[in-house]
Structures are given as structure tokens and as C-alpha cells.
Amino acid sequence: MGREDDERPDEGEIEMGALKAIYAMWYREIRVFSREKSRIVASVINPLFFLLIFGGGLGNIGGFGTVGGEVFIFPAIVGMVLLFTSIFFGLYIVWDRKVDFLKEVLVAPISRLSMFIGKIVGGSTDSIIQATLVLILGVFIGVNYTPLSIPLTFGFMFLTTTILVSIGLIMGSRMESPEGFQLITSFVVFPMFLLTLFPFDKLPSYLVPFAYIDPMTYAVDGLRGVIIGANYFPVYLDAVVLAVLDCIFIATGTYAFQKMKI
């Protein structure tokens, strides 16, 4: 509905207003997040089981080269936390709309772009905090972090979560009710995650095309590169693919938000 193309009296003032609006959106998410401590704990338990049971079992079957099974799937588990938290964060705007809080934001004199960016920053903060808890667990299974790998890991996590929150928000802005969550989990989230559990070169050929279009492939490959040095693509390529996807999804998401009805 073209709310963005109003005349703007004072550019500088508007910039400040936009930053404030983004901060407001973030403030809300952090307040909500900080009140849901049980959710945070629960979000670490599931990955832990995956890591120990699934990773441990895989490790005994062998075939991961220089690293053990737990260590090999560890970046995929970090990716999983990012994936589930971010997508569901985005989808949750369906609920916000239902409980009507979103109305307050939609009628505020802020641009849909600020709104969208605010949501992304909020959602990314949530999921990076949760993924960090899992990263700490890595120490116990023998992952060695270095002063270089830590900032690179966070860089990859940020590139990844922003894509995922955007995907969630895009789907959420098109949905009428939360009933579709289960379908999205089955048809989008789970396949995206499962494809990252295995070495790319060991995937059966019919899965390879799907792995190529799965953003999580590049996210987890990049994390594998910087955390345990077991990447398939060059790490810079992973980063470039993620950055390009970010541009595409953020643009699409802003468009979807502009079209979003109250």
C-alpha cells in the first residue's frame, strides 16, 4: 500500500525515527525473550540429545575423516538451533496478529522496512543467544575454539539467522492462522535441517540438487569450516551465498510486510 513513499520533510529526523523504531521492535523482543527462560532451557536440551545420541551413534559407524561423529554434526546442531528458533520466531507474527499486538505496530508512523528490520534484529538476537549456549557445549565434546574461529562463527550465525528469520516472517505474513506451523515444520524446516547432517560428498545423487538449494547447506558448511575445518565448499563461497540470500530474502520480506493486511 505504498506507505513508504510519503513525502519526508526532514531526512535526518526520519533516519533517527527509523533507528528508534528498529530499537523499539528489538526492545520488545528482548523483553519477551527474557521472560521465557523455560523456553531457553528447553531449546538447549533437544540439541544436546541430538548431539550425544545421534552424533555418538554416527561416529561409531564412521566415515567422517579426521573428526568424530559428534564433532562433525556439531555445526549442524548449531545450525538446527538457529533454524528452528529463527523460523518459528518469524512464523510467530501470525500469533502477534491474532492477539492484536501487531496492530499497534502496523498503525504506528514507522515504515514497514523499519518494522521488518526490527523484527530481524530481535529474532536474530534470540536465536544467536540460544545457539551460543550450544556452542559452549561444544567444549565438552572436544571442539577447540580459537580467537579467529569465534568471531567468524558469530559472523556465520548472523548471516544465517537473518535469512531464516526473513523466511519465517515471509511465511508468517502470508498465513492466516497458526495451524500451518506443523506443515511448515514437516515440509520446510525438517528437510532443511536433515540435509545438513551428512557430508555433502556422501549424499545420494537424488538429494544433491535439494542440498544445493538448501540455505542451511552453506550455513552449516561455513560453520564446519570455521569451527572444525571440515568444509566442503570454500568458506568465502559459503559466506557469499549466504549474503546474497540475505539480500534476496530481506527485500522479499519487506515487500511481503508492505502487502500485509491488518
Binding site: M1, D6, M16, K20, D100, K103, E104, L106, P109
Partner: protein, 326 residues
Amino acid sequence: MSSKSAIETLNLTKKFNGVKAVDDLSLKIEHGEVFGLLGPNGAGKTTILMMLTTLIQPTAGTALVNGYDIRKEQDKVRKSIGIVFQDPSSDDILTGYENLKLHAMLYDVPDEVVESKIGEVLKLVDLEDRKKELVKNYSGGMRRRLEIARGLLHQPAVLFLDEPTLGLDPQARERIWQYIRKLANEKNVTIVLTTHYMEEADLLCNRIAIIDKGKIVALDTPGNLKKIIGGDIIRIKSPEPNIEAIRKLDFVKKVEMVDGTVSITVEGARRHLTTILEAIGKVDSVYVREPTLNDVFLHYTGGEMEDSGAEGGWAERMMSAQTRGR
């Protein structure tokens, strides 16, 4: 374009799938007024409000809100208005204070005045002592009060209230009315409210537009609207009412049978009551009252008085006459 009125609509029209929800509406609302849009559910009140607050686009025509065009200057319109929705729109996992703080940021209220403004609006709706509680622990009335406070936080020139007391119990409703009146008296704000409660419109509004099927069917002060009915209403329950005798009395304006009771419109009911009672024959019960907006409403929206559907309205009017304690 500029306008001296707080709101001016120019042939404002909204169609949904070809059906006109708002039909060629032109009206002016002046600064400082409490203006009521009164109509049944589905009359188009909320659609009008949604257009004036830029939430939906008109199909044709436009409106100026505080001099800003709702089609072309949406951000300016939004900054200059406050909205309290029909459904709760506060965040229930945040505290009352946090909801206000969030609003201040979204509306870019200058940092140095945020705290004092929040304090001021909380005081206005008597929620200072509950500000640190999560909104999910608030009652419906408290939540509505918080949202009214929030709507005022950025000092809008116009405050829109969509069915402000819908779903509230009588005490909470009474309280909301107090706050709205206080606002109208103390703050320099124009209030536009929609309601389908006659009593509410009557008590609060300086002027009322009665909306039916997307059109204004009447627009005036509550007092003038009631004058249209042209007298008081006497209802008599009688086993064999002598209607012809009543019709012959020259001060009687209208006689109708409604669900077995005779409804008589008379100027100066108290003066003529004995004459009427003598004329009608045997009487079981008598009820006399002044006209209410509901009578006006029924008068304009097509005399539903005759059919049984009006029974609910009658009961409601009896009730509202009681709660008003007249």
C-alpha cells in the same frame, strides 16, 4: 490542501467486493468535539474509522485528518492521531509501563519528555500503581484504560475510540466514560468514537452521526436528535385497549401496538396521562419516559418497532433508563 476542521471527509467511499460499506460520506468534525458514530453492527462505523486512521484505503473520495490527506500523507496522519481499537492491542507479555515505553519509541516521542508523559497518562487513567504488572494480569477495563493512555501518549490532535466500552462490565464502562469526559474537558483533543450503545453516545458526544448501511441518516446534537421524536412515550398494557379513543385525542402524535402493549407518543406525557388512562379503558400497567436516542435511531433506520425484533431494544432501553438513575 488545508482544512480548519479536525476531520473533513470528501465523498469517502469504501467497497468490499462491490458492496458499499461506506457510501459517499461527507462530514466535518470540528476541533475539540466529542463526535459519535452511532450505528448497528455492520453499519460501516469501523470501516470509516479504518479509513480515517489510514489502515485501509478508500475506494473513492478522501478525507483530511488534521489537514493531512489520508491517501497521500499517511505518516503525518498517523503521527497526529491516537487509536484505541475495539479488540485489545496491547502486548500482554509486557508490563503496562513497557507497552507505553514501546509506544513512545514507535511514535518518536522526544527522550527527555518520555518518562514525564508516561507518568502523566498513567495518572489520567489511574494505573500508576499497576504499571509494573504484566498486562495479562489486567482486567478488561484496565487494559482498555491502558490503551486509552497509550493512545494519548504522543499528544495526538485526534483520538479515535472504536467501541470503547464493548465487552466491559457496567462499573468498568462507567469508569471509561469518566475518563473520556475528563479527556474532553482537560486535554485539547478531538475525540471520535464509534458505538452501538445509545446511552454511551448520548452521555459522551457533542454531536452524533447515525450511520446505517454506510450512510449518515442523521447528524445533530443528542438533544436535537431526540426532539425529532416529538414528545414523550407512554406504554400501556391493557387487555382491551380502546385505540380509537386514543387516536382521537388531539395531543397524541402517534399510536402503535408493540407486542401487546400500546405505545403512545405524546407531548407533555405527565400532563395528559390521566386523560389517556381514562380513554383507554382497563389498564394493567403504565410506563412513561422521555425519548431516548434509541427511539431516534429506530425512527431513522426504519421503524422496526412493529416487529418482534425490537423487543431486545426495548428491554435494553428499560435497563439503560434504570442505570442512568433518572
